[in-house]
């Protein structure tokens, strides 16, 4: 009899955002039987929210001459505070032009210069206008394009499946188990696994991320023995809308917007006199918090992002999405008045450790995009490089995973055991009638992460924070779900996400406490200098007998000399 809950494929892509879809398309092109599992419909993935653009040294800007991918690589490495692996950055930047052109050929409607070429705007930390864009809806346009390319019928989509665990056989990853959210039933899937699950921003209460960004992939990988890298490096975007923390793109500053404090001063002059508003994100975020802390914020909470001098026409043409967001969510029309902004969590530089072929250290398991760490962003990612990473490394992951598909008899019992194990995890949570609800623990977790592991960090504060996380992990032992519905039991899903987030938070905390220096997004008030002799190294965390075990690994420094970072 055919096993109705075991689904056999060659490639399983977990996550339907840009990295996942690009990987799927590549695996399909390699002739593989591909399935995409996603806990939401792929078009609801967080990639859709990316605004400002995608970097590539096309050199399209009129009267600016040629751009060079090596300059892009230099800006990326400098922006990373020299923690990025320079051989990986080479791949990213060298392949950028062809990746952007491919997206255009697939159907993306990029904004254009008058000469008909793809328009490019200046972005933070970049020495050249290198960011290609589709108004301020670049992620939306790219995601819809890749989805269009992926629905030819040959890729099998399992929409609204929440992956509960990865399946291992003889130290190799051979598939996964997942909950069909619509029906509430557990299934098993066989194939090489590509994780493309995005970041874990929602461990913070102030985040630009979609509510679904809960670090599921990093948890799954860690749980079967893969390493996580540089997890303490969390990017705080300087300009998120005060109140809802919805992203206000760096493209606004790229187009010329000013940051002003309560005295109406362009305060970036005190922090990065050359780059001003277009200094890298870590520097601008710290500047804003400093202004607010020193009493020059507005309502002691935020600063102003002023676009008014750009004029109505430019705002409507280049930044229509931002205008709509400001009007819908803050009742502010940026044509007439400044937008209230504050820093908020935005991106996870760290993630599942992979080599330049997107292989983790568990055979059969690959990762790409924000859930992974190649590392091309190091300690601070430049704007416009994350979309680029998704397509460049999504493609590589799809290709590599396809090359390594092996004909092998499926041992059904291993998959049935995995399903049974997850059933034993889920059933008691649903059957339990009282205890603590996920929502209570989640709220405390998010608040403490922002408080203890935010823009400015300090050893004592962080140790308190780690204690807090561990006490919440204990509380989680008593978690229960009120609803016993099988169909769309979202409380159950959110509880499982919380399990993932608690572990991720602990690993962020451990990495941050151990790194006694300031580098990129990781800024410590008790160790304000970058200390290359000791910490020009990647943090690597693996699952040990008694919890997370930390070690360091070298950074690839092939191309550029390590220098002070000045803007």
């Amino acid at each position: 009899m055919e096993n109705e809950i075991l689904h056999e494929h060659e490639i399983l892509v977990i996550g339907g955002g840009l990295s996942g879809l690009r990987a799927s398309i590549e695996a399909l092109r390699s002739g593989r039987d591909v399935a995409v599992l996603s806990k939401v419909h792929p078009l609801r993935s967080h990639s859709v929210a990316a605004q400002g653009g995608i970097n590539a040294a096309l050199g399209n800007t009129p009267d600016r001459g040629d751009d060079d991918w090596k300059d892009h690589a230099f800006d990326t490495v400098k922006g990373s505070d020299y923690l990025a692996d320079q051989d990986a950055v080479d791949i990213l930047c060298k392949k950028a032009p062809e990746a952007v052109i491919e997206l255009e050929h697939m159907g993306t409607v990029f904004s254009r210069f008058d000469n008909g070429k793809i328009a490019q705007r200046p972005f933070g930390g970049a020495g050249f206008p290198r960011t290609c864009y589709a108004a301020d809806r670049t992620g939306h346009n790219l995601l819809h394009t890749l989805y269009e390319q992926s629905i030819s019928g040959k890729i099998k989509f399992y929409d609204e499946y929440f992956v509960t665990s990865l399946v291992k056989e003889d130290e190799k990853c051979v598939g996964c188990a997942a909950l069909d959210v619509r029906e509430g039933t557990l299934h098993a899937f066989s194939g090489n696994v590509i994780l493309a699950t995005g970041g874990f921003g929602r461990i913070y209460n102030r985040s630009t991320n979609a509510l679904i960004n809960t670090g599921d992939g990093a948890f799954l990988a860690y749980d079967i023995g893969a390493a996580l890298e540089d997890m303490e490096f969390i990017q705080f975007h300087p300009t998120t809308l005060y109140g809802s923390n919805i992203l206000i793109t760096e493209g606004a500053r790229g187009e010329g917007a000013y940051l002003k404090n309560s005295e109406g001063e362009r305060f970036m002059n005190d922090y990065a006199p050359d780059a001003m508003e277009l200094a890298p994100r870590d520097i601008v975020a710290r500047a804003i918090i400093t202004e607010v802390n020193e009493g020059r914020g507005i309502e002691d909470e935020y600063v102003h992002l002023d676009l008014t001098h750009l004029g109505e026409e430019k705002i409507k043409e280049r930044l229509p999405g931002i205008r709509q967001i400001a009007m819908d969510f803050a009742d502010v029309d940026p044509v007439k008045e400044p937008i209230p902004v504050q820093p908020g969590q935005h991106y996870s530089m760290g993630g599942i450790l992979v080599d330049n072929d997107c292989e983790t250290d568990v055979p059969g398991l690959y990762a790409a995009g924000e859930c992974s760490c190649v590392s091309v962003h190091g300690a601070n990612r430049l704007g416009g490089n994350s979309l680029l990473e998704t397509v460049v490394f999504g493609k590589i992951a799809g290709k590599k995973a396809s090359e390594e598909v092996k004909d092998k008899e499926i041992d059904e019992s291993i998959f049935m055991d995995a399903v049974e194990k997850d059933r034993k995890l889920i059933d008691p949570i649903v059957e339990k009638k009282d205890g603590i609800l996920y929502s209570e623990i989640l709220k405390e977790l998010r608040e403490s992460m922002f408080h203890h592991f935010g823009v400015f960090r300090d050893g004592e504060m962080m140790k308190e924070g780690l204690e807090k996380i561990r006490s919440l992990k204990e509380k989680f032992e008593d978690v229960y779900v009120g609803s016993d519905d099988k169909k769309f039991n979202q409380a159950l899903i959110r509880t499982l996400e919380l399990r993932n987030m608690l572990l991720i938070s602990e690993i962020v905390a451990i990495g941050a406490i151990e790194r006694e220096e300031s580098r990129g997004s990781h800024y410590r008030t008790d160790f304000t200098e970058r200390i290359d002799e000791k910490y020009l190294k990647h943090t690597v965390v693996r699952k040990g007998e008694e919890g997370p075990e930390l070690e360091y690994s070298p950074v690839n420094l092939d191309r550029f000399e390590v220098k002070e970072r000045e803007y």
């Binding site: 419909h41 609801r44 409607v109 254009r112 809806r137 346009n141 509510l211």
Partner: protein, 247 residues
């Protein structure tokens, strides 16, 4: 503040009322989360971006299809709600809007799966039917296809669609004719038709009584679109081009 919410668990349906504390800037989605996190964790609704870009949370709010994340509660309870759409039969099916409260129901014209979650399979089937992928023939340029900013602007009107299905739930024709492809699919088809890079004859794909010709120009689609996409204009232009070709 009172929310009256449609409930369905696969068997019977009913309405539940919840009292939710009002907060400044609160959206309908925020209020739904308040209920799920504090009052009844069995309440189900789709969500993701909470910033009106992902298209997950289209539902019927005070008898108008809209995104829960983009709808301010205050505007609804204080009578500042200026959304006006043409009335259609699906709006008569559920409860009436209670005085001073917010009525939240699933999007019409698609089968309800649970509470506020509808089965969008048919909506996406019609989207796939129009073959929404760029088709180019002949020589592909080495670099990008050149396009004027004007051409891009016209395309953007349609590429802005987030496939939330609000228009599908607002279209009176979709309520009567279940084979009608609906505003979003037709607007998408038109987007590929006007794409200067695409050289397939696109219009004929919907040149039938359940395609371009089914639209009755109620224009609810445009009124409810959170991204101001004008499917009615696409349909009108497509029809007049087809008529010209006939002549």
């Amino acid at each position: 503040m009172k929310l009256r919410i449609f409930r369905y668990d696969g068997e019977g349906s009913h309405y539940d009322e919840f009292q939710v504390p009002h907060e400044s800037g609160q959206t309908v989605l925020d209020a739904l989360f308040y209920i799920q996190e504090n009052l009844d964790d069995s309440l189900s609704f789709r969500y993701s971006c909470r910033g009106a870009v992902c298209g997950s949370c289209a539902m019927l709010i005070n008898k108008v299809p809209r995104l829960a994340c983009r709808t301010q509660v205050k505007s609804l309870v204080e009578g500042e709600d200026d959304a006006e759409i043409k009335h259609y039969p699906a709006l008569d099916k559920g409860d009436e809007i209670p005085e001073g409260a917010v009525l939240i129901e699933p999007l019409p014209h698609l089968p309800v799966e649970k509470d506020l979650i509808v089965d969008q399979d048919k909506f996406f089937e019609y989207y796939r039917d129009i073959e929404p992928m760029l088709k180019t023939e002949g020589k592909v340029p080495e670099k990008e296809y050149e396009m004027s900013p004007k051409e891009v602007n016209e395309l953007e009107e349609y590429t802005n669609c987030i496939l939330c299905a609000a228009c599908f739930g607002a279209c009176p024709v979709d309520g009567e004719n279940e084979d009608y492809r609906g505003p979003a699919a037709l607007a998408k088809l038109y987007r590929f038709h006007i794409d200067p890079r695409d050289n397939e004859d696109r219009l004929e794909l919907a040149d039938h009584e359940d395609g371009w010709w089914a639209c009755e120009f109620h224009t609810n689609c445009r009124k409810v679109c959170p991204k101001n996409v004008p499917p009615n204009i696409a349909i009108g232009k497509a029809r007049s081009q087809l008529q010209k070709e006939d002549e």
